[in-house]
């Protein structure tokens, strides 16, 4: 019954729904992309600096304990409302898992591989590009996968600071005590999060070098 009403709501407001959905996806994708572009290079730079890496992992773990809502609340006084502040907050949310996994993945690369690579005359950059990164890719992608689910579900909260997305229906639904409208936001958002998890799980398997895949 509720689902039918929710479906009727979508049919009645196709334009609003489409905009909310695309905003939600765009916001999530942009945040995830920015986080990857920042966290992976930082992890690589820290790979040979043990103490700095531990510091970064600790900082990221602290960042991870901040509730998403708190991050949004902190951003608002600084950046105001709208798409950009929401993007900023979601990027912050996505950084810790990616940074932690990149650091851990690179630290766990077998020391013998690096020794053999250096001993045969690879430069530091070649060791990183040809050996350490490819071997670390599966674990790095596991971090991106975790971040993707957090970002897609966290994007619902963007509505609180005027970032748009499916969260608009949820906040409106709560405000008006309209359960069907709330579901119009909640169900697609959940499906998107599950879809992101599947997509990155698949990418993780595809990008794992053939010789290292579990059969």
């Amino acid at each position: 019954m509720l689902l039918v009403e929710a479906w009727q709501f979508i049919l009645a407001h196709p334009g609003r729904f489409a905009v909310a959905l695309t905003t939600h996806v765009a916001l999530s994708a942009a945040a995830l992309g920015l986080a990857v572009a920042m966290a992976v290079p930082v992890g690589v730079l820290l790979a040979n600096r043990r103490r700095a890496m531990l510091l970064a992992i600790t900082a990221a773990n602290v960042g991870r304990t901040l509730p998403s809502l708190a991050v949004l609340a902190l951003v608002m006084p600084l950046l105001g409302t709208g798409f950009v502040p929401a993007l900023f907050a979601l990027t912050l949310l996505a950084l810790p898992p990616i940074l932690i996994n990149t650091c851990t993945a690179l630290r766990q690369v077998d020391a013998d591989l690096v020794d053999a690579a250096r001993g045969m005359g690879m430069t530091r950059a070649q060791v990183m590009r040809q050996v350490e990164l490819p071997v670390a890719i599966p674990v790095i992608f596991a971090g991106i996968r975790t971040a993707s689910v957090q970002v897609v579900s966290g994007a619902v909260l963007a509505a609180y600071i005027g970032g748009g997305g499916l969260g608009d229906f949820i906040t409106a639904g709560i405000a008006m005590m309209a359960l069907p409208q709330l579901l119009v936001g909640a169900i697609p958002a959940t499906l998107l999060a599950l879809g992101a998890d599947r997509l990155f799980g698949w990418l993780q398997r595809m990008l794992t070098p053939v010789g290292m895949r579990v059969r």
Binding site: L113, A116, M120, V135, P209, G211
Partner: protein, 320 residues
Amino acid sequence: MIEIRGLVKQFPGAAHPAVDHLTLAVPEGSVCVLIGPSGCGKTTTMRMINRLVEPDAGSISVGGRNVMDVDPVGLRRSIGYVIQQVGLFPHWTIADNIATVPKLLGWDEGRIATRVDELLELVGLAPATFHSRFPRELSGGQKQRVGVARALAADPPVMLMDEPFGALDPISRARLQDEFLRILRGLRKTIVFVTHDIDEALKLGDRIAILRDGALVQYDTPEDILARPADAFVESFVGSDRALKRLGLIVAEVSLETAGAAAPSLSIPAQATLRDALARMLEGGVDSLAVTGANGAMLGILTMSGIRRHARAVTPDSSQ
């Protein structure tokens, strides 16, 4: 070929230097085995040759060039490197692994492909079968064969080998040592080989450098180390079965006597060692063996007293 002079390495925080004024020369085309108890500095010494560890004092020259004057990356590409855990890249095929240094040196594809197949043949792995496999599909012995092939890829004049057979079971180890000897005889490489296994050192080394606390205790041929250990440390290190070990270095051929009236019932190939011959005599309860050549023809006989003469030559009393 390799000259080490007054080499010193002190790691930060360590009470004693890892390598302490070590001087050593390895002639071209020979195998120098560095051996000693854990922490004697053998691996550190080896790693200073290709500058994976930088010395604090002293000098190392390879082929007449001081390694400190050479770019370390280029230096390492010109020196073969094999380690105990092999360190094959799991995400690359066997062919790609072997091609590592040629690719770094920018060889063209055709030359690399030819070289990879040639090396797979050399280390006894059928190219058609192994070319496209991945490291995790190989046994420990096969991995180390690939490790040796990879180090030989760009035909470096010098090879550094850090306990390459240390992680293998005794049977694979013995087989790989034999093949390694066979391969080496054809290639005339200058090799620095680190091990803690004295039998391996006696079997593979042209010269053995025994190290303790970072210093050289004795540097001699296997025969001389067994015949004239420099001190009590070396003597205990080579073990109480020195006479047997010495026999293990001598092939049956060298002790031939002409056959008498009756040919011995048991035989042994000419390339077997006197140690093997002795074992065969004890097993068979005989005092003489027929020594046979490659075609199975008898070359002569080997007697117990012949073996005894060789064994006695190494006891400390008679060597003075």
